[in-house]
């Protein structure tokens, strides 16, 4: 029983991190249109919110939060990541916002696209 508890305390939860990232992006970017003067502020807010909440989880992990906001103009872009780490203990979440279904439902003409990656590297 104790071993299971220890395992839970020392591994991070994919769903939890997913939820934290989604909520942070939604809260900052909901119903905004791309504005050059404000983007830097939004992007810093997202990174800080996510990092703060991850630290509050209290797991023995180092975190890297990487956020990208791009104006929707029809240009193509590709993002790839490669990692050299412990595949059991470490992990990543990559969220692309908005998901196209979401945009159609809200009938919003989205002028921006956000890609947020969170990497969790185990310290033990």
């Amino acid at each position: 029983m104790e071993e299971n508890q220890n395992l839970e305390e020392n591994t991070y939860s994919q769903e939890e991190v997913d939820r934290i990232t989604q909520e942070s992006i939604e809260s900052v970017l909901k119903e905004v249109q791309y504005e050059e003067s404000k983007v830097q502020g939004w992007i810093n807010a997202i990174c800080e919110k996510v990092t703060q909440q991850l630290i509050e989880l209290g797991k023995p992990y180092k975190y890297i939060v990487h956020c990208m906001i791009m104006q929707r103009n029809g240009a193509g872009a590709f993002v790839t990541t490669s990692q050299w780490w412990d595949t059991v203990a470490d992990g990543q979440i990559i969220i692309s916002w908005p998901k196209d279904k979401q945009a159609k439902q809200e009938q919003q003409k989205n002028t921006l696209h956000c890609i947020c990656s969170v990497f969790a590297v185990s310290m033990i």
Binding site: C47, I64, V65, C67, M68, I69, M70, T81, Q83
Partner: protein, 114 residues
């Protein structure tokens, strides 16, 4: 890079070596190439993998994350930011941008000491 295999901190001579290598890789892969969405995925994978391979063959003291963005050059705004919660003495990151006529390549390398 061989002589730097025993470095404990990413911030120092190791960072400079990595920077040189990443710049070379980007030059090699992106110069004189036009953006093609069908092979951009393969190209960015190749960039990531070759950088990661070079990093890991010589340095066993770190966990690495390599992030690559390839974007077609167009009239659009782009903002990127990163936030890291780690040990500032030993861990570090590097961001390299390479711009050509047809596209922009941005590579981030994050290193966490073991």
């Amino acid at each position: 890079m061989d002589s730097l295999g025993n470095q404990v901190s990413f911030n120092g001579p190791l960072k400079n070596e990595v920077q040189k290598f990443v710049q070379q890789t980007l030059h090699k892969e992106l110069d004189k190439i036009t953006y093609d969405h069908t092979d951009a995925q393969t190209r960015s994978n190749k960039i990531c993998d070759s950088i990661l391979k070079q990093l890991t063959t010589n340095n066993k003291n770190f966990k690495f994350i390599v992030n690559c963005l390839l974007m077609q050059k167009a009239e659009c705004g782009l903002n990127i930011s990163g936030s890291c919660y780690w040990d500032n003495e030993t861990d570090g990151s590097l961001t390299i941008k390479h711009e050509t006529e047809a596209m922009i390549g941005i590579v981030n390398v994050f290193a966490c000491a073991l």
